[in-house]
């Protein structure tokens, strides 16, 4: 994990070095609302948002020499940070670190460049055309979208974790960990790795990307995986109680809960009246379901970094 942030930091630094950023900026506005929102919009560059205890928003960093101005404005419940277009309509470059009240909501849009958010407890919405997105900390809800970049969401382990995470990328890897309730992940060719316990809803859809789920579902939880040629690996608690419906038309299904049962399996696992559902379909990808070894469930994230390396 630590390594990933170091790499991310290097990315931001190298991005900064390549940009034509010239002007140093430092702006600060007070935030009237502890539950307010900070909206950030730049063109090319990088954004790092860090939650802090102060009730104010501070913006530091550099902006490109062709940027007309960087506006930091305060509204009733929002603070806006925006790099303004120069008159010739060229790209807006900015490399910014934004400190925001940790209880605020955050909304960031970057055309090209990475976004890193940490220590924010509110709702987080992040969009970049081309660049990695990373969220860490005890956020409430996360929505992240990129075309060409990885998405990593890791709620703080000590807190309850995010309620809901939605992540969409086209070609990047998605890694989501420590979420409390719902995860939706979508990719075309990138791998998806989800880890968490007692989740109520997990949906992952890819075309050629592999999917790995490592963790448990709540009693009424539902896991739904859909791939075309991507492989699905599910690692569940050995005492899992759920209704399985898994099919691979042209791939191999290997299910530790139901060995040697073919590539189309519809059965109930566990005692009593299980209401959790595990549904996985693939056209040509293999489906492999295994049982966690002792103690594996709580630290199911080990595989997360692995998948990224496999890309």
């Amino acid at each position: 994990m630590k390594n990933r942030y170091i790499i991310f930091g290097i990315l931001i630094v190298s991005w900064s070095a390549n940009a034509r950023a010239e002007q140093q900026v430092e702006k600060r506005v007070s935030s009237n609302h502890a539950n307010g929102k900070v909206e950030i919009d730049i063109g090319e560059g990088s954004i790092q948002v860090i939650g802090w205890d102060k009730n104010e928003v501070e913006v530091t960093g550099t902006i490109g020499d062709r940027v007309e101005r960087l506006d930091v404005r305060k509204g009733k419940r929002k603070v806006w940070v925006r790099a303004y277009l120069p008159k010739d309509g060229e790209a807006r470059e900015a490399e910014l670190v934004v400190y925001a009240p940790h209880s605020n909501d955050i909304d960031v849009q970057v055309f090209q460049g990475p976004i890193l958010v940490s220590g924010i407890e509110g709702d987080i919405q992040l969009e970049t055309f081309s660049g990695d997105i990373s969220v860490s900390g005890p956020c409430k809800r996360v929505e992240a979208g990129t075309v060409n970049g990885d998405i990593t969401v890791d709620s703080a382990k000590r807190s309850a974790g995010a309620d809901k995470v939605r992540a969409k990328t086209v070609a990047g890897a998605i890694v989501i960990k420590n979420v409390r309730r719902e995860v939706e992940a979508q990719s075309i060719s990138g791998p998806v790795t989800i880890a968490g316990n007692s989740l109520t809803k997990v949906v992952a859809k890819t075309v050629s990307g592999n999917v790995r789920f490592d963790g448990g579902l709540s009693r009424l939880g539902r896991l739904e995986i859909d791939t075309h040629s991507g492989e699905f690996i599910g690692v569940f608690p050995a005492d899992l109680s759920a209704e399985f419906d898994i099919t691979s038309y042209n791939g191999v299904v290997d299910n530790a809960f139901n060995p040697n049962a073919g590539s189309n399996q519809d059965f109930i696992q566990g005692e009593g009246d299980p209401q959790a559902e595990v549904k996985a379909t693939s056209f040509s990808g293999n489906i492999r379901v295994t049982k966690q070894s002792n103690g594996e469930g709580a630290t199911a994230q080990a595989a997360a970094g692995q998948d990224k390396k496999e890309r």
Binding site: D41, G75, E127, T128, F129, V147, S189, K205
Partner: protein, 229 residues
Amino acid sequence: MKRCTVTEAKLGDHLDRRLSLEESQRLDRHLEECAACRGAYQRLVALRTLVDGLATSIEPQRDLWPAISARLCGAGASHSERERRRIRLAWIVLSAAAASILVALGVIELSNRPASTSGPAQNIIVDGSPALDDSLRLEVAKAEQAYVDAAGDFLAHLKSPEAALPPDTRIVLEGNLVIADRAISEIKSAWERQPSEFALARKLLAAHERRVELLQQVAHLSFATQNGG
């Protein structure tokens, strides 16, 4: 009370951060000492705060659209009739796609029900009636066409210069479209080989959906991130 006329004129510049660092520091020191200037400056700050809190939007008291609409009839010569006919709003098409797909999925759902829970219609399905198979295929074909139309509109936009896709993103998009297209074609062939396997029809529509969602996402990000949403 002493009136500091020299600095009075500069208070506004100070507020607007137009003073040099040195001038600014000098004025800050002065403000600490001079109550009159401090008061005047605080009023300026208060005014700025009030301005920041002004409504950004004021609705006119009457609806101006009818008058504007009437004037538009005489304007707008720049929009060609050909283009107008060609226009198919992506979200309208998507709504149509959603409707067709719901119908198709409904038919597939029916076709998957076991005979034991059957009513008359389901009996027909389980019996493998050619009429119902045809109807299913027709619904799936309609849903597919709706997806293809929606994708076409997004593609047309994304290929236009105004979408301004960065070259690396364009390459990623094209590469992933190939993957999505291949998936559709593979499932289609499989369904042709096993026409009674209705689940493949569902898979086919899901693959189309992935393809449209891919294009929709790229189009959305192209708009949102380049234009401040």
